[in-house]
């Protein structure tokens, strides 16, 4: 069994292979020279508390040898031969596989001309370490892109006492992911914490200014010491593409996490998964999904035929605020609200007929847990019930045992 990619998804997969009783050879190919680690803290605790205080390891370093998992660090999969069932490595070696899992993740989308000294993109622990040094040395931190990475880095920089400017092209922060109402609430939180949130800003380039930078926007310039760019990602699908696997926005897989090549699977940020319940390909770039897909794919690599049906869930922590979501929101502006925007305790539900399709919550994690349970069950709901905070969400599903004994 060969797994390409040392993120949390790949690490979960190798763990699940062993847990499920597979006792043959397992190789995990990691491009970075580090044992698999968790990326979510890199934009939060790692910046706030430093590298030494933030243990991101998925498993202790000696776990892999204990599990007899061959860990190749600092090695890339350069080429994939589906007919020969081999992977050629960047160090020149070749390994053969019976079953292969592609968990190659994504890389930050870069902007032409916005690079060089003082410009930081954040993906790896190395990126985070450099960013941390630069933020500490900076007075003014500019963030280009008001998505999750940008907002989380901005929150950390504010907490570290820095002057922070967020530049976002859309009318509000996190608009695509969370919708206008929730995005405005998040923007209000950042402004309340002292960040300068500038939306509708198109950045055309940067200019060097002494040791710092000037960011050129449609309205003028923003001077800063460091510019953090978080403007989305590109899936690392070239290995699959060159091997002839179908790719589009990610590597196409079915609900079993399988590609079209026998024995070859893909999971995590790079995988565009066909989900029958949504009727389309869904590529999710979140920690929990990568882990759960990794486990499902591992079992399927061992001969199971298990569809991935776990409920999608993600979180983002900014300052003391918790954003969480369950399900997949197609249109975050077509939602029913529960709670109070003024009190920053709000959930946005998307409905699909009389079923809940998804929820996005600010500081209402209980709603997210309730929805996560409801999504796995039969339930029926109206918009009025969702708006009525006195009606508990968990009552929306019939209690199955009691219903069964009522007759």
């Amino acid at each position: 069994m060969v797994v390409v990619g040392g993120g949390v998804g790949g690490a979960a997969a190798v763990g699940e292979l062993r847990r499920a009783g597979f006792d043959g050879g397992i190789t995990l190919i990691c491009a970075e020279n580090a044992v698999p680690y968790q990326r979510p803290p890199l934009s939060k605790d790692f910046l706030l508390n430093g590298a030494a205080a933030t243990n991101c390891d998925v498993q202790p370093p000696d776990w892999y040898s204990q599990q007899e998992i061959e860990l190749l660090l600092g090695v890339r999969a350069a080429q994939l031969d589906l007919a020969a069932k081999t992977v050629t490595l960047s160090d020149g070696g070749t390994i053969s596989y019976d079953s292969l899992l592609l968990a190659t993740g994504v890389r930050p989308r870069t902007l032409p001309g916005i690079d060089g000294e003082g410009v930081c993109y954040l993906r790896t622990m190395g990126d985070a370490a450099e960013l941390l040094d630069r933020i500490h040395a900076a007075e003014h931190v500019a963030v280009l892109g008001g998505g999750f990475i940008g907002c989380e880095v901005a929150a950390a920089a504010v907490r570290l006492g820095k002057r922070v400017t967020i530049l976002e092209a859309l009318p509000t922060l996190l608009q695509r992911a969370l919708g206008t109402t929730m995005g405005e609430l998040i923007a209000g939180i950042h402004r309340g914490e002292g960040a300068d949130v500038r939306t509708g800003q198109f950045v055309s380039g940067i200019r060097r200014r002494g040791r710092g930078l000037s960011v050129i926007t449609g309205d003028g310039t923003v001077d800063c010491d460091v510019l953090v760019v978080g403007v989305g990602t590109l899936p690392n699908q070239e290995l699959a593409d060159r091997a002839g696997l179908p790719v589009g926005n990610g590597i196409d897989v079915d609900e079993y996490c399988a590609t079209q090549a026998p024995g070859v699977y893909a999971i995590g940020d790079v995988a565009a998964q066909h989900l029958p319940s949504y009727g389309r390909l869904v590529r999710v770039e979140h920690y929990d999904t990568a882990i759960r897909q990794g486990r499902t794919a591992a079992r399927n690599m061992l001969g199971a035929r298990e569809a991935f049906t776990d409920i999608h869930w993600f979180w983002s922590d900014q300052y003391e605020h918790s954003i969480q979501s369950a399900g997949i929101t197609d249109n975050p502006d077509d939602v029913v609200m529960r709670g109070s925007a003024e009190q920053r305790s709000l959930s946005a539900f998307q409905l699909n007929g009389d079923r809940i399709r998804s929820v996005i919550s600010l500081n209402r994690p209980k709603d997210v847990l309730d929805v996560r349970r409801l999504l796995a069950r039969e339930h029926s709901v109206t918009a009025a019930q969702l708006r009525d905070e006195s009606a508990p969400l968990k009552r929306l599903a019939p209690p199955p045992q009691r219903a069964a004994t009522a007759n």
Partner: protein
């Protein structure tokens, strides 16, 4: 070392399926009644120290709402992630219903 039993609440105040936070000699302790058996854990998620008593307990599974880490309420073993473990304290219920906890000091 002999156990140091500290008196906490009465089991009458902790119904099956309930949990509550108590302070024992400065230690934040979660008491949880799993099917009539009382368990005592540190009231702090091993992930990022979220208060577990503000989480969710469905009778079997304890969920920290900060990042949805899940634990078997009976054993304190992590369910998701499965390599987590709640710190467990000794715990007993006296004949009069008083719950005693030993935090190891």
């Amino acid at each position: 070392m002999t156990a140091q039993w500290h008196e906490t609440v009465n089991v009458d105040e902790l119904w099956e399926g309930d949990m509550t936070a108590v302070t024992v000699d400065g230690e934040n302790v979660l008491l949880i009644n799993v099917d009539g058996q009382v368990r005592a854990y540190t009231n702090s998620c091993p992930h990022q120290a979220g208060p577990l008593d503000e989480g969710d307990f469905d009778g079997e599974k304890l969920t920290c709402l900060r990042h949805m880490w899940e634990f078997d309420a009976d054993t304190g073993c992590g369910i998701n992630p499965d390599n987590a473990q709640l710190k467990t304290f000794g715990c007993k219920v006296a004949d009069d219903g008083t719950i005693y906890v030993d935090i190891g000091r």
